[in-house]
């Protein structure tokens, strides 16, 4: 009976703690003061194995590891696109003309979360372990193929030699956009394990950032970080004072429950939420805010852009006329309005058009885009695309005060896109013998039916899913018989990697350029990453199937140039134009990232008019947010 009493009391306590704590705004459901806790929706939802925290194996990055846990030699300032030293003491010193040998200094006085100093011993141990167990560890290849040798000079200095000339060491051993592919591990924790390091789970991990893991849910729903007492001697303790005492990552469930929880002020920062849900949440709680107060509302500064990747090794897509016909038959205005409520930023070249890449690539190539002429003398570029989109939105009843004007039109909706011209599309197809059959759809030159296999993500990427169906619809209207096939992400990768399975695919993996350093992503456009059209072997890069010799040559040449060499930048601009001229990728738009925030407990999040960092809570740049947000004082 006493036990039953305990049980009932405990149940009632549980009920009270969970339901009234939020209502009173006093404590979170993990027992921390709400006013001192920044609560963030996890990027990866719920994770199936949250104990996998060994970065040599699992690349534990979500739930705070990337932004709060690991420390980097060099970090990326996402507001400017420039690298800055984090744990390194300055930039690497180049030791030879070939750009293969470097001396790197680290800042003294950085400590792991368990109080042991971070020195070059940790770096050498991490590299030793990566090389020794390269056949048993699953996440070390990025460094084992990059470095040829390394050695310790003293506790704060080490030298490395790269396998090939390297002008991007700071991003290869540091951060390019949102994190690094290789993380340093604490020697004093890992070394005593000996060979067992290959199966070590490392939970809870000893980390370098100013926060340490306080608790994590073994079921993978949440993880709680607490500010270290000695945060000033952490990897980025010199960046400023972290404001929240606790940062609590939690998966608030489906979009429906997330929207409801957001309305109830249960958390502060979301990830991707659909415009419809955001509108519903904003209507019920004015503290919910979008990235921008006006159209297109959302952040468009992701490092990648969405596009239709075409397997141009397979007929009839091996003909530029066919690829151009597809581009000109695609009504992006209609697609963007129906799938994205008009909240998108067009990007015609194979990279996003952001405040960082815009001046380097889009502004520089704009005249060439305007002058671009197809073989029949047709000029396909529509520089007025954004103005026309604004007019279309206004005609659909969007309040004028919510639409940008003047220069903001271009910065909001992009520098232009391709004309929607089905007649020109038909003309181009006719020039290569493709004409419409009796069923109203285009047929192949030999008269056989032409069904386009168009692979799009299923509901694991709802934005691309909606875009994909809308694009297929647009093409069908123009006479293309399209089979839009939605697949799970496992099959998506297999299709992406396998020539024999790939025809057309919505993708983003080869249209990721964050700043002037285009090499990080386009370096995959190499001859060795081209397989026969019917190959069933997996590709190790170049998922866009770029075979254009001009592009391959520009990439190859660029790899041996310093990143700040004007020739290097010019090569990047030329690559973008070369891909466009032959329409090898139908690039569509920047990746729209909604990231609504709730200002009830915290303010000063990164916004369009307060862009001190990219607003993503899952990028390493979130550390800037952590030192910039301010408590509202609400208890």
């Amino acid at each position: 009976m006493t036990r039953l009493g305990h049980f009932l009391v405990a149940s009632a306590m549980g009920a009270l703690m969970t339901t009234t704590a939020f209502a009173q705004g006093a404590m979170t459901d993990v027992g921390t003061p709400r006013s001192e806790t920044l609560i963030v929706q996890t990027f990866d939802g719920r994770v199936a194995n949250p104990s996998a925290q060994n970065p040599l194996n699992s690349y534990a990055i979500w739930r705070g590891f990337r932004e709060l846990g690991w420390g980097y030699l060099w970090e990326m300032d996402t507001a400017t696109g420039k690298s800055y030293p984090e744990m390194a003491d300055g930039f690497p010193e180049v030791l030879n003309d070939e750009h293969t040998q470097f001396r790197i200094k680290i800042r003294p006085g950085i400590y792991w979360s368990d109080g042991v100093e971070f020195t070059t011993d940790d770096i050498i141990y991490s590299l030793d372990t990566a090389f020794k167990y390269r056949e048993k560890l699953t996440n070390v290849a990025s460094v084992t193929v990059f470095l040829k040798s390394y050695k310790k000079i003293d506790d704060y200095t080490f030298e490395v030699e790269t396998a090939k000339p390297s002008y991007d060491l700071t991003t290869r051993l540091g951060v390019y956009t949102w994190g690094t592919p290789f993380n340093w591990v604490p020697k004093h924790v890992f070394e005593p394990l000996g060979d067992e390091v290959v199966s070590f789970q490392n939970a809870p991990a000893v980390t370098l950032g100013p926060y340490k893991i306080k608790e994590f849910d073994t079921n993978g729903f949440w993880q709680l970080w607490e500010l270290r007492d000695d945060w000033q001697r952490s990897s980025w303790g010199n960046l400023g004072t972290p404001k929240p005492k606790f940062i609590y990552y939690k998966d608030f469930g489906t979009e429906e429950t997330r929207a409801l929880a957001f309305v109830q002020n249960q958390y502060d920062v979301d990830t991707f939420m659909s415009p419809d849900s955001i509108d519903a949440a904003k209507a019920r709680n004015p503290a919910v805010q979008t990235f921008s107060a006006t159209f297109p509302y959302h952040d468009m500064n992701d490092a990648c852009s969405y596009g239709v990747y075409i397997n141009q090794q397979r007929a009839p897509y091996d003909m530029p006329e066919v690829r151009w016909a597809l581009a000109l038959a695609l009504n992006l205005q209609q697609v963007g309005i129906s799938a994205m409520s008009g909240q998108f930023k067009a990007a015609a070249m194979p990279l996003p058009d952001t405040p960082i890449t815009g001046p380097i690539f889009y502004d520089a190539n704009l005249d060439q885009l305007k002058d671009l002429t197809l073989g029949d003398g047709y000029k396909p570029f529509n520089a007025e695309f954004s103005n026309e989109l604004v007019a279309a939105l206004a005609s659909q009843g969007i309040d004028q005060s919510l639409l940008p004007t003047g220069d903001a039109v271009r910065s909001g909706f992009g520098s232009g896109w391709w004309k929607h011209d089905p007649a020109e599309s038909e003309k181009l197809l006719a020039s290569v013998g493709i004409k419409k059959g009796a069923d109203g759809f285009y047929a192949l030159p030999d008269g056989s039916p032409w069904v386009i296999e168009f692979v799009i993500p299923g509901d694991w990427n709802k934005v691309l899913q909606r875009l994909g169906f809308s694009i297929a619809d647009s093409w069908r209207q123009a006479g293309f018989n399209v089979n839009a096939r939605q697949v799970d992400n496992g099959e998506f990768t297999t299709v992406q990697n396998t020539n024999s399975r790939n025809e057309l695919q919505m993708n983003w993996s080869n249209t990721c350029v964050y700043n002037a350093n285009w090499l990080g992503n386009w370096n995959q456009f190499r001859t060795e990453n081209i397989l026969p059209a019917d190959s069933t072997d997996p590709l190790s890069g170049n998922y866009a199937r770029i075979t254009n010799p001009e592009v391959l040559s520009l990439v190859s040449e660029g790899a041996s140039l310093p990143l700040d060499d004007p020739k290097f930048v010019a090569n990047g601009q030329a690559i973008a134009m070369a891909i466009v001229k032959d329409m090898e990728i139908i690039n569509l738009m920047n990746i729209p990232t909604t990231i609504p925030t709730n200002n009830t407990y915290w303010t000063n999040f990164p916004k369009q008019d307060n862009f001190y960092a990219a607003p993503y809570s899952w990028w390493s740049s979130f550390k800037k947010t952590v030192v910039s947000v301010e408590p509202t004082g609400k208890q």
């Binding site: 199936a48 194995n49 690349y59 699953t138 608790e215 849910d217 729903f221 409801l260 109830q264």
Partner: protein
Amino acid sequence: MGLLSFIAKRIGLYFVVLFIGLTITFMLPRLMPINPVDGYIGQLQSRANGTLTSEAIAEMRVTLEQLYGLNGNVFVQYVSYLKRIVFSFDFGPSFTYYPQPVSAMIMNALPWTLGLLLTSTVIAWTLGNLVGLVAGYFHKKKAASILEFVGILLYPIPYYILAVSMLLLLAYIFPIFPLSATFPVGQMTPEKFGMIIYNSLLPGITLVLAGFGWNILSMKALTVATTEEPYVVYARLKGASNWTRMTRYVFRNALLPQVTALALSLGMVFNGALLTEMIFSYPGLGLVMRTAANGGDYNVLYGAITISIISVATAGLVIDLLYPLLDPRIRHK
């Protein structure tokens, strides 16, 4: 001798079912259009912003194929798989979360799935059958029609709609339960246990409501049919009371097919309830399997499906062996 032969036949059939099930389980994931190696590399590549070099990817591919045991022909892999499962019940490491053993992942998730689904399935079955019995036995009365109406009302509601409605009603409009529960970690205490029970109530109630309707309708139909049986009519003419006829004549006989249905549904419990996990933020095996299917994590799929096959087959065997005790006609045969 007849009994021994009956038991031996059933047990023999049980092992044949297991063997066929395990063989199909081995083949099925390999027919999926997913390559686990590419799946893992794809994840890393995406997280590294597409900056993994081609050389790194090629090296990783060789390493992963080796570590995942995907080298060698399929027959050798099949024999090794059977050996591991039959002799040591070892499913190997998860591919997606290498080197975490599959058994550890399943054992972490399984108690949650069993705790919620087993309990709610049994409650839904018991309540549904009792209500169905009353509704069927007194099917000419108005109250019985109301009970049947409850079943008809609940049964066709898609589970997702029912779950979201319950969430809206009891977690948002009347915030009695949390929208997304937080389950405590660490050493179990009465308070934490209470919190777990409390957080499980809303998904539990929803599952009971979802399973309740079918049990009412099926039991009612069985009861109505059984009530017309000659032996029930004879009992009535003999002067047996309503209670006696309902419980001893009708219920015991109408229950038999329902017991089979319960056994099968208990076996299916091991598959987890993915929608429940997603909507109510509840831990369990569903997400583990979903992640495994997405990434082509063969070993996790083997583990989860094998446990499910063993459960269903064992439940079937137990029912087969118990049936003679429940049904004298079978015992007699």
